[in-house]
Symmetry: C2
Subunit: 223 residues, 2 copies
DNA sequence: AGGTTAGTGACAGTCGCTGACAGTTGACAA
DNA sequence: TTGTCAACTGTCAGCGACTGTCACTAACCT
């Protein structure tokens, strides 16, 4: 590996401009809402032309997801790092939990954690952004399915299990993220807890009859 | 019930205009692609002003999903009609399968089946539309979760099982729809078969170790 | 028939986004 | 150091989605 000697002035400048755009965009989005923030405002605040903004991001939306992109790549990497003998769901589970512990630093190189979390809430509560988010997640799931299939030595298109597994896992993860965003505890610990607890619910939810026995999740009574 | 004596001329005219817009929009989308079709073209073809188009649909996107809306409502209705003693997943499964058998007529009152199916493929293959589709599905899943919770006498926000169940179910349904759209057999029978086979995969995918035994789904050879 | 009101068209304007062209400034060699 | 080249950028012009406004027509109601 030799991919980090000195980026060169041009590269550094570009990186600075990009980070400033992301940061400013998120700040304005969070402060005034996504749709009420114009690209001209963002570009103006960073003192570049609107045209330049669109040279860095294909769309206003793309700027909103710049940090998410980091998180997703980080998680995917964590999955690929799991030892191949682990069963698929176990590998996925450990990868998420592990990646929550280390993603913080990567994020902080671009924007403060606080801002990222507020941006996440905004994504969840803005229909247009939520739709885009789900679309991105579908793309991630496709990559995950391929990764899982490769681990197990299967053909993704012939054996449905990799995609099914990833779809189930992804659905549950969305629920965890959603309740994280809806709550008030934005710590990584809280996210870990929610993740684990939702994953534990998977088998319970598939049970035939929910009414034969009252107890299911510890601490959850029937209200 | 008394909701169908005579709609009145005004209503009938409105309905006709709307149907014409939907039909024309889908035809143009399918023929030329979604983004390459302008609202002006659609409005022009139906001989109304662009402004009028936007009085019927909040966005170009909304016109693309007018028929999907019907399908979703139909399915939701089918779920609500299931006898309350059925376990949640059983009720969901039977509701989908049942609704595929009867949705055809409802669709044909607006557009020919063939057109609807082509439009569905277009949605799956156009990123912007796919994202919107996933966003809509999330909304549907929320309603489903509430319905399931009510059947079981639970509080959606206190007990995670309704949302988890619906998320798992929804994820699998998306896979079935996706492979339906990717294939060549557009019959309702094909959709039924895919739906059933993917649902059957749910438990198998959750199995600990996929490598202890080679066989998994009956009729699914490793091709 | 005559007043009310829903539905429409015409027009102007905002915002996201793109192509074309020209000016500026790092990178790199002479 | 200097000159050339390529990368980045700003300016401008334009398209398409979408919205507010206002006047006009036609269905509705009495």
């Amino acid at each position: 590996m030799d991919t980090a000697p000195r980026p060169g002035l041009r590269e550094r400048k570009k990186r600075r401009t990009r980070d400033a755009l992301v940061r400013t965009a998120l700040e304005l989005f969070v402060a005034n809402g996504y749709e009420r923030t114009t690209v001209d405002e963002i570009a103006g605040a960073v003192d570049v032309s609107q045209r330049t903004f669109f040279r860095y991001f294909a769309s206003k939306e793309e700027a909103a997801f710049a940090v998410q992109e980091l998180v997703e790549a980080h998680f995917l990497e964590a999955v690929r790092r799991r030892p191949p003998h682990e069963p698929p769901l176990t590998a996925l589970r450990r990868a998420v939990l592990a990646s929550w512990d280390t993603i913080g630093e990567a994020i902080e190189t671009v924007v403060p954690m606080e801002l990222h979390m507020r941006a996440f809430r905004l994504i969840e509560s803005t229909p247009a952004l939520l739709a885009a988010h789900l679309g991105r997640q579908e793309g991630l799931e496709e990559e995950l399915a391929r990764t899982v299939a490769e681990r197990e030595g299967l053909d993704v298109d012939a054996d449905p299990r990799p995609r099914v597994t990833v779809a189930l896992f992804g659905g549950v993860m969305r629920l965890a993220a959603r309740s994280w965003g809806a709550g008030h505890d934005f710590s990584a610990t809280a996210m870990r807890g929610l993740t684990a607890s939702y994953l534990d619910q998977m088998e319970l939810a598939l049970a035939e009859d929910w009414r034969t026995r009252g107890e299911h999740a510890p601490g959850h009574s029937r209200k």
